[in-house]
């Protein structure tokens, strides 16, 4: 691939992304998601904060991956399934685009929307800093980890959406998939000891809690990035199923 090809590819990805974001904000989806997300986080965050009486974001960071479990599949469920159902996928795939450009463009749009929601939680950070002293290391790490976690969720949700024309089914598949990844390190006691460390390594929480402590290890970052890459690759394959 030479430079102009990369430029053209990036333009296509941006076009797809922009259209997808536009569609989130044109419909009520974006607003509903953001409001619901902030309301849930805000509620649990403030109600526990004063009980704990510590200036920390840890409570929120532990909660967000759980709330994402519901929110992200709801954002991603329509990305490809709707195009399949309405037949517009045929328009899209007969334009001079690579399949991966479609997949990556859609991924970026949904990730950006989650990013916007996450960005708005900085309000809670501001409220905490106004009443107490907070250690900024874990906050930066926490947000970084949450973005990576969201990326994994979005990639999984997008893959789920590529499997079916039905948005509800796409939601359920995405939800279950993410749920399993989230639960992996909680079922370790049922796993034979020889496999335990592998299973633990596959779980999201293990890596997220590392990063959320403020320690950004390349191994953890690689875990998230390769999982995202793998899911996107599966999505490209799934989109190419029409060719089988």
């Amino acid at each position: 691939m030479n430079k102009t090809e990369i430029q053209a590819s990036w333009n296509n990805i941006r076009t797809i992304s922009r259209r997808e974001l536009q569609s989130y904000f044109n419909s009520a989806i974006a607003y509903v998601v953001i409001v619901v997300f902030l309301a849930i986080i805000g509620w649990f965050h403030t109600s526990n904060l004063f009980l704990a009486n510590i200036a920390t974001m840890r409570l929120m960071f532990e909660l967000v991956p759980l709330v994402f479990l519901f929110v992200v599949p709801a954002i991603t469920m329509r990305l490809l399934s709707e195009e399949k159902k309405s037949g517009t996928i045929e328009l899209l795939t007969t334009k001079p685009l690579h399949d991966y450009e479609i997949v990556f463009g859609k991924f970026l749009a949904a990730w950006a929307l989650v990013g916007v929601a996450l960005l708005l939680t900085l309000v809670y950070y501001l409220t905490i800093t106004s009443i107490g002293k907070i250690d900024n290391g874990p906050v930066v790490g926490g947000y970084f980890g949450l973005m990576l976690t969201a990326g994994v969720y979005v990639a999984i949700g997008l893959f789920a959406s590529s499997l079916t024309e039905n948005q509800v089914i796409a939601f359920i598949i995405g939800f279950v998939f993410v749920f399993v990844l989230l639960m992996l390190d909680k079922i370790l006691i049922y796993v034979p000891e020889s496999l335990a460390s592998i299973v633990e390594f596959l779980g999201i929480d293990y890596h997220f809690s590392n990063i959320a402590r403020g320690v950004i290890d390349t191994r953890d970052a690689m875990y998230f990035l390769s999982l995202i890459g793998f899911m996107l690759y599966l999505t490209v394959l799934s989109l190419g199923r029409r060719r089988w």
């Binding site: 044109n26 037949g87 517009t88 328009l91 334009k95």
Partner: protein
């Protein structure tokens, strides 16, 4: 911008959707793809537009093969899929912008093409409306505008007039004719009058195979059934089959005759005439001689409809 299709075969699972199809489309030609529903028209179009590959066979568009230069082929083609899928949440301009960006048009050219398409397709009044609010006729125009936004040399239109009312059909047909003037066009339809109205050449396809290929008039000639004449006579006879029928049958040029029916003294016959002869004059003289009163005489040529019917029926009967 010629299209060459060679030995195209497509299986869906074990079902053979199209079977060894080969044809050429010359540059600038409007080709009609005619066939009953499920004959394989859409499948063939989906293959040419690179939506899915064939099980075997090749397609070249302007020398570019769909297998090896898919992106090049897609750049050259404007496609209106069956049922005209659209993003209903976008407005017309947004959607056309999106389509032109996906084709990589730069800003200046996009603006110019948008204005041109809005003008040619008559979208001026609805350009800021959501596509979901538009009538079917307007949606079809948006679909056509989308297909032509990047000035493709090849247009592939899958049933462009299905679901429209008669006025809209005429409008869209005129639009296709006007826009397709300098382009190579393949359009599919199961409406025969459409082919006669718009196409230079027709391919009739049935159950996955090509059963006829030629201009509308060539097809009519080639599959020339006999012409037929229908007459209605008023004659006071006791039995039409013995008193009238033999006399008609014996005229020169009559291949066969059929007694259709009678009411009171009115008798109807359908007469099949052998190729190249015209029996109407003789029929008239005969009627005068026999003192039959000639109430009606109609000549029917072979229509494309009959050709189509015969070709697609015959296949069914073979089974």
């Amino acid at each position: 911008m010629a299209i060459t299709v060679r030995n195209l075969t497509k299986y869906y699972g074990h079902e053979k959707a199209i079977n060894d199809i080969s044809f050429d489309v010359k540059s600038g030609e409007i080709l009609g793809f005619l066939g009953p529903n499920g004959a394989g028209k859409t499948t063939t179009m989906k293959i040419i537009t690179c939506y899915m590959p064939p099980s075997s066979g090749t397609v070249d568009v302007d020398g570019y093969s769909i297998a090896d230069h898919s992106l090049e082929v897609r750049r050259k083609i404007g496609y209106l899929p069956e049922l005209n899928p659209l993003y209903l949440d976008m407005n017309v301009i947004e959607y056309l912008e999106y389509a032109s960006q996906l084709h990589g048009l730069d800003k200046a050219r996009m603006r110019q093409q948008l204005a041109h398409m809005v003008d040619v397709c008559g979208l001026k009044d609805v350009r800021h409306k959501d596509i979901g609010e538009l009538s079917k006729g307007y949606r079809q125009r948006v679909g056509l505008a989308q297909a032509m936004i990047h000035e493709p040399d090849v247009l592939i239109l899958d049933e462009p007039t299905s679901g429209l009312d008669p006025n809209q059909i005429v409008e869209i047909r005129n639009l296709i004719k006007q826009l397709g003037r300098a382009k190579t066009v393949i359009l599919s339809t199961h409406i025969l009058s459409e082919v006669q109205a718009t196409c230079d050449r027709v391919i009739i396809i049935n159950e996955g195979s090509i059963v006829a290929d030629g201009t509308p008039s060539e097809l009519k000639q080639k599959f020339h059934g006999a012409e037929s004449v229908t007459i209605e006579l008023k004659a006071a006879v006791s039995d039409a089959m013995t008193d009238i029928y033999p006399k008609i049958k014996s005229l020169v040029g009559v291949e066969s005759a059929e007694y259709i029916g009678a009411s009171d003294d009115m008798h109807r016959f359908s007469i099949v005439v052998s190729k190249g002869s015209d029996v109407r004059e003789d029929l008239f003289r005969q009627a005068v001689a026999e003192k039959w009163v000639l109430l009606e005489m109609t000549r029917k040529g072979t229509s494309l409809e009959e050709v189509f019917h015969r070709l697609t029926q015959a296949e069914d009967e073979k089974k």
